[in-house]
């Protein structure tokens, strides 16, 4: 759990989480808003930067760890979640943030998402969903709407988009939210809540690509299109209702928390700790293990 470490007596401000690196995103890119929201959320969490590991894949959005003072890991396209799980298992006391693009998370890395969710490590996964491949200059993404024309779908795409919200809800993610940089306060708050949730938490940010994205996804239109779930009276403990609302992805721009499991199940790390403690008495001495008879060895290697 991210709150297991003793809290620092220091008081943090957003400045403590802002690195000296100047972002090289295009002016007007939604990802600027996302990183600002992350600074704000982290300032309220009260964990010093050195206790935070920020993991990303590859893409414009995946540059984000570099713009924070947290320990960073710009990894492999599509593999941020497995790498983050490795980090969390090796050092469960770290607060682990994972971020990346829609392509990174739901195309090349899509196969990893269900497995991360069903293990339930205490991670916060933030996807900057711009419905396009930004870094490689504007190809179709798994969340691009059907019919979308891009350099790699010249006559319009013939595929339905992935619905990231429904996807993670279906596999049982304990915390699912959607935000927009146009509503900075709301975005910062939901990232903070995601971090505080003890288990796998997912935040889909509709973060517009100003260079290759559609006009109706930009910040200005977001302000007009967004509908706050809170104002709609949505009960975030109702998973079925959350799934119903999530079906509106691509049509109605709902923002806020879709689902928060009121009874968070144990995290993978806490289960590992428990297992280790239970087995401590039974653990074989290393010498004993190494000097086992060959029949045992055969059993061990028969698989």
């Amino acid at each position: 759990m991210s709150t297991e470490c003793p809290l620092s007596p220091e008081v943090f401000t957003t400045k403590d989480f802002r690195s000296s690196l100047k972002p090289i995103w295009c002016p007007g890119c939604g990802d600027y808003g996302v990183v600002t929201a992350i600074y704000r959320a982290l300032a309220t969490i009260k964990r010093p930067p050195h206790e935070i590991a920020f993991i990303s894949g590859i893409g414009c959005s995946s540059r984000i760890p570099g713009y924070t003072t947290a320990y960073g890991f710009n990894t492999v396209h599509g593999r941020a979640l497995p790498i983050a799980q490795g980090i969390k298992m090796a050092n469960p006391d770290l607060l682990v943030l994972v971020a990346g693009g829609d392509g990174d998370g739901f195309s090349i890395g899509g196969g990893h998402v269900p497995h991360a969710i069903r293990r339930n490590p205490d991670l916060t996964y933030i996807v900057m969903d711009n419905q396009i491949y930004g870094l490689t200059k504007g190809q179709l993404s798994p969340t691009s709407p059907r019919g979308k024309k891009t350099s790699s779908s010249v006559y319009g795409s013939m595929e339905d988009p992935v619905n990231p919200l429904l996807y993670v809800l279906a596999y049982g993610a304990g915390f699912v939210a959607q935000g927009v940089p146009a509503d900075m306060e709301g975005l910062a708050k939901m990232i903070e809540e995601a971090i505080r949730y003890p288990g796998f938490a997912f935040v889909n940010v509709q973060s517009p690509c100003i260079t290759y994205g559609d006009a109706d996804t930009q910040l200005k239109t977001q302000r007009m299109r967004m509908r706050k779930l809170e104002a709609e009276g949505h009960d975030a403990t109702n998973r079925l209702r959350a799934m119903e609302l999530a079906q509106e992805y691509g049509r109605t721009l709902y923002t806020g928390v879709f689902y928060r499991n009121p009874n968070p199940p144990p995290t993978y790390e806490s289960q590992i700790r428990e297992r280790q403690q239970n087995l401590r008495g039974e653990t074989m001495a290393l010498e004993q293990l190494l000097s086992r008879k060959s029949t045992d060895d055969e059993n061990l290697t028969a698989s």
């Binding site: 195309s107 090349i108 200059k137 190809q139 179709l140 010249v154």
Partner: protein, 355 residues
């Protein structure tokens, strides 16, 4: 067709369509995106299919499927994406299916950079994935050659029922040169695809199964021997190389692709300085032109291998030269293309002369 000014990546894509390729599966990656984009635009016009897959893993397995169905199929990527395809390439080679792969190399390892490199030589020529197999590797040095080699890649793949790779780099991919694309003429003597899963109607009711699994070691050994008989046939019939100004050369530069272009300029400069330098340019990297070295080894004093890597083809040159003459190496890496002047300096150091 008249000569037309084209970009390297587009030349490869156009040549593939010209050769009868109708299926393309890929995933975006710099610096080869013009290939899939050309295919996305042009393939549907000729009754073909272009799919942007969800990853390179999916793309190579779509290639596996289409190749198994008897189609002429292409995928292209750049280094990290090609790494991800290696499992599929091993299966395709094991199942003896024809397909063409393009690797527009960028600098590694890992994510590396997007600038040109030749550091995937080992991966391309020595198998790349698991098991005993080879991919036939063609390395164009100019765009006309890129067109011609891409077209013959499809014939070679069909002839040997084996993946064929066109190996170039970001510099060739982005280069503009005039090219003449000749209309497609699949070789007339290609074996029929009597193994393809085209439905029993064409197989006389016999079931066709595509497979790379052989659970009995003696059968698998037999299968691998059969693969190696094909590689021996390639080594016999398909080796391609170019010798340039080697007749009197005291130093023979060995380079392929982009670095061979640099070497050519360096040789021109060397010749003006009175230095007798030639070029041995492998065009097939697998099979490697070992025998070509016999034509120059008697006269040359030394070989100079130039690569955009830390020395990968160098190993094959060592095998070819077998200790008979000294070999020196000049490599740049990280995405840096060596300059002709740098190469001239290396030659001067070798010949003991210099201004």
């Amino acid at each position: 067709m008249a000569r037309k000014l084209m970009k390297g990546n587009e030349v490869i894509a156009a040549a593939a369509i010209n050769a009868g390729c109708r299926y393309f599966f890929g995933y975006p990656i710099t610096p080869q995106n013009e290939i899939p984009e050309y295919m996305a635009r042009e393939l549907p016009k000729v009754g073909g299919v272009y799919v942007q897959a969800e990853s390179e893993v999916a793309a190579i397995n779509m290639v596996y499927g289409a190749a198994g169905a008897g189609a002429r199929v292409l995928t292209s990527s750049s280094s990290p994406g090609i790494s991800l395809m290696q499992e599929g390439i091993s299966y395709i080679a094991g199942a003896e299916l024809p397909c063409v792969l393009v690797n527009i190399m960028r600098a590694g390892p890992g994510l590396g950079g997007v600038q040109p490199s030749q550091a995937d030589y080992f991966q391309a020529t020595k198998g790349g994935g698991h098991g005993d197999y080879h991919v036939l590797v063609l390395a164009p040095a100019n765009l006309q050659e890129a067109a011609d080699l891409t077209q013959s890649a499809f014939d070679l793949a069909d002839r040997y029922r084996n993946p064929v790779m066109v190996l170039a780099d970001g510099m060739i991919g982005q280069l503009m040169e005039p090219v003449e694309l000749l209309p497609a003429r699949p070789a007339v003597d290609l074996p029929p695809k009597d193994w393809a899963t085209t439905g029993t109607a064409t197989s006389g009711g016999r079931r066709r199964v595509i497979n790379s699994l052989y659970l009995y070691p003696d059968q698998l050994e037999q299968h691998v021997h059969a693969l190696y008989a094909k590689y021996a046939a390639m080594e016999h019939a398909e080796v391609r190389y170019e010798l340039h100004q080697c007749d009197d050369a005291e130093v023979v530069i060995v380079a392929y692709g982009t670095t061979s272009r640099i070497a050519r300029s360096a040789i021109e400069k060397c010749r003006r300085l009175g230095l007798r330098v030639g070029l041995l340019r492998p065009i097939t990297l697998y099979p490697f032109p070992f025998a070509a070295f016999e034509q120059v080894i008697a006269r040359t004093q030394a070989f100079l291998v130039v690569e955009m890597s830390m020395g990968q083809m160098l190993d094959d040159v060592k095998i070819a030269v077998a200790g008979r003459k000294p070999i020196s190496f000049y490599g740049r890496t990280g995405g840096i293309v060596p300059t002709p002047e740098e190469v001239v300096k290396q030659v001067q150091a070798l010949l003991g002369g210099g201004p």
